[in-house]
Subunit: 247 residues, 2 copies
DNA sequence: GCAAAAGTGTTCTTTTTACACCCATGG
DNA sequence: CCATGGGTGTAAAAAGAACACTTTTGC
């Protein structure tokens, strides 16, 4: 991805100068998507750092915690209208031990006094979401950083305790897949039962029988059946489905 | 309960003077117990305030979040070795709108500058637990406050957003009753199946059939059967049970 | 012996899982 | 007409709910 270094530095400087954040608290978003049956998580990396991190940020003084999570995600990935769910708050003393911020700022030659709030202890609130992997193509190239998907069991070197956060976030998603699936733009508006099954199998890392899966899902009464979908292959065309408006 | 007013003021003054807390963050504990089939929650009240609040407090700079929750609970209720589970973090901007702290300090004639950290915005992390109601008798009379159990659907006037916190905490307990029951000292070491059934029925607000409940619980394979318990009544004596050590 | 409450056995129902069959589709 | 994959029917198995019967206890 394209990197504009001067803009990058300017943005960072602005962040550092801001006094409008609630100190000691941050949010981090674990965004899961899947690609060809492989579950992936969205990570960011500043150009000159060798560690990746979750899309995270701070809370404005006059902003609700949940709004901050949505804003932070948008600012860093341009994902909008993403349903985010809070899942856990991480508050170990030493969780930001490998101070990535410090290294980054040094690289950028940005002068920050050592008692600056950004170096203080942070407690972070984790939010998670499941989204359509295809939205990946729509991320605008962020000027600040590289944005990429990683398989959940082939993670790169991560900042702070972000590996742990991903682990806990993934557990949460697995336990709450039913609500997550409905609430999100994980699938295109219309999809086949097989598409949905692939999602379940990828997220839960389990296999289901085609026919029983169909019955189970239809019994939930959350789908409406639409027209058939002809993809040109030599077999019976599957129906398309859509999530019902309300319940 | 007995109140020592000068000690009370002294403690508060000390809290206010402390600079060792992580600003903007607090913990609140929702402790549930049950009494004669009624589910209750433990609340505290400073003597001269008319609002009740959850046992809560702040996090020391050199303390893990979860340790802070345990410490805070112990300091305010003298409950020790209580298994606490984090369930949600509350971060609405206006959640501490009805500033109970301010009123309390004014009552006590403690001078605090208006820009003191205690008046700043706070984001609070909720922890919950289910405990044996009989432990209530063992709370030492806290010098600072009154400590009492309230029925979960007959709550008094509460500080901040504590009513909401209780609601979310109770939901969490209900969803996780199986783990909570085992992890806690909710029941005495030895108990009858009926005792356990009463707990389930009280917490979940549902009725079960005696025989089916017994089968369901025994199938979990978490109990070991002990001797019979004779309470002098004219009927067959029930067995006592105990939670198995490991699994 | 009797009432009360506990333990256990049995049936009925519902849900879940497994297997089977038929149907539509493009080449 | 054939291979492929989708829809639906049905049987077997497991789990859950309801009912009945027997046992133990103190009076």
């Amino acid at each position: 991805m394209k990197i504009d270094d001067s803009k990058n530095k300017q943005d960072l400087q602005q962040l550092i100068d801001t006094q409008q954040f609630v100190e000691h608290i941050s949010v981090d978003c674990t965004i899961f998507g899947f690609d060809n049956g492989i579950l992936k998580v969205l990570l960011l990396k500043y150009h000159d750092l060798d560690v990746w991190s979750l899309p995270g940020g701070f809370i404005f003084n006059d902003e609700d915690l949940s709004d901050a999570a949505s804003r932070v995600l948008f600012e860093r990935t341009h994902l909008s209208d993403t349903f985010l769910e809070q899942f856990h708050t991480f508050g170990q003393i030493n969780r930001t031990a490998n101070n990535a911020h410090q290294i980054l700022l040094k690289h950028k030659n940005i002068e920050v006094p050592p008692d600056h709030w950004i170096f203080q202890r942070f407690i972070t609130v984790g939010y998670c979401s499941l989204i359509d992997f295809n939205l990946a193509g729509t991320f605008p190239n962020s000027l600040n950083e590289t944005c990429a998907w990683f398989e959940v069991n082939k993670l790169p070197k991560l900042a702070f305790d972000h590996e742990r956060i991903i682990e806990v976030g993934l557990n949460h998603i697995r336990k709450n897949i039913d609500t997550q699936i409905v609430a999100n733009n994980l699938l295109p508006e219309k999809f086949t039962m097989k598409d949905l099954q692939t999602v379940y199998e990828t997220v839960l890392d389990e296999k289901y029988r085609r026919n029983n899966f169909q019955r189970k899902i239809l019994a939930l009464n959350i789908l409406e059946r639409l027209e058939k979908f002809f993809d040109g292959s030599a077999n019976k065309a599957p129906y398309l489905y859509r999530f019902r408006r309300k319940n």
